[in-house]
Assembly symmetry: C2
Homo-oligomer: 230 residues x 2
DNA sequence: TCAAAAGTGTTCCTGGTACACCCATGC
DNA sequence: GCATGGGTGTACCAGGAACACTTTTGA
């Protein structure tokens, strides 16, 4: 069923950069292996065409679920890539979105246009289709900047967590080590955390105190931004 | 000459938020009065459809010149607005771009789809077409954030300028007054400025020393970002 | 001589940085 | 009793905030 317009239109797509963290280890990105041309067999960011009547953010969520099974992910708009030539078939403008998830919670399975779906280290991805290597670099930069301006962690950590777990999140995203004492002092000063009276159980070392996010403060700082230098 | 596709496509447009500064006075935004439906007679952001084979940024530059006569403006991508319903005709996805220019240098004339083109105070714009009031708010917020992360002023000031002129730029964008002594100390510390041996002429008060930007430092900090708190 | 903006220093305090040792727990 | 991560304090220094008076110039 063909659709006809008075003037030609670029195609509109979305791409998803899903960053993944594990309890330990470095930052990962979720990729799919393409089933179809162009770039059949190549790894790529999950994504696809925006339907008429669908907000780009919705389209990103839908495509992510269709191709990788991931859902209920907090996707944020990154930026739009629209140079002609980024897709060999025709002019395709893509609105990139990114998200941060816990790898352990995310049961990923390939489907739809994806032959496989898998996590790769952000720093050493396989050869990617289209301009996705560039998009990935931009997304990683922006993620590191966001870490300085917004609270991070609610999507990544269990409801109650230790300060070391939170510190690992920051270390994985920034790719560097942080001084434990300074990190604790600063993060407690923000008011984002509430100490619970519980501690870890069954750990082969001194049990750490568990904290949770203060929901109101988290929302407020997520919205209006703050400055958290590490 | 109609164009036909296998699946329907949202329309793709660009919008331009051009912020303007004068020597004194508050921050302005450049608007056009629409000639055509929908919203004929309403004020709106300059913008229009993206051609196939044209990068959105190019389209923004082209539309801005067609409708307002402004050219050689440094436009940066802001974000993409694509909720269905933002345009009453059909689903239109718009990539918003913003720029910062000197009102005195910018000879603006309406043309093309614009009945008039004029500057309005950012804080008190007239009723706007589409969701342009929201886009304007987002753009203003992002401009204020950008002021803390990138050097600003090269597009706004003459090649040689006084520290007070630069301070007025910051005050207009932030909409608040800044302490003169603290501002001077901080801005000189960045290394962005080079003192010349010239001073103002013909001013009815003590003549101020003129400074210029250090091109290398400006480029470097524009690219990699820095933190400039005022 | 007046009006107008230029130019200049200091105090106080917050918060960044660097750094080393003892503590609790499970095995 | 040992391996493992948890937890804590201090000294030093950079830079943010608040604040008032003298200087230069043209009219």
């Amino acid at each position: 069923m063909p659709y006809t317009y008075a003037y030609p239109r670029p195609a509109l797509t979305v791409d998803c950069i899903v960053f993944g963290l594990e309890n330990a280890g470095d930052l990962k990105v979720l990729l799919i292996q393409r089933k179809n041309q162009p770039f059949a067999g190549r790894w790529a960011l999950p994504g696809g065409f925006v339907d008429v009547g669908e907000a780009p953010e919705q389209a990103a969520r839908r495509e992510l679920e269709e191709e990788t099974g991931l859902k209920n992910v907090f996707l944020e708009q990154l930026r739009t890539f629209g140079e002609p030539g980024r897709d060999p078939r025709e002019h395709v403008v893509s609105v990139a979105h990114d998200a941060l998830v816990n790898v352990a919670d995310a049961r990923v399975r390939a489907a739809d246009d994806a032959r496989q779906a898998a996590w790769f280290p952000v720093g050493r991805p396989p050869p990617l289709a289209f301009d996705h290597a560039k998009i990935l670099r931009v997304a990683h930069n922006r993620l590191q900047e966001r870490l300085r301006r917004r609270p991070v962690g609610r999507e990544l950590l269990p409801r109650k967590f230790t300060l070391s777990q939170l510190q690992h999140v920051y270390e994985a995203i920034l790719g560097k080590e942080i001084d434990k004492r300074n990190f604790r002092r600063r993060v407690l000063r923000t008011g984002l955390l509430v100490a619970t009276d519980q501690t870890q159980k069954q750990v082969p070392h001194r049990a750490a105190r568990l904290y949770r996010f203060d929901a109101r403060t988290y929302r407020r700082l997520a919205q209006q931004g703050f400055h958290f230098e590490v």
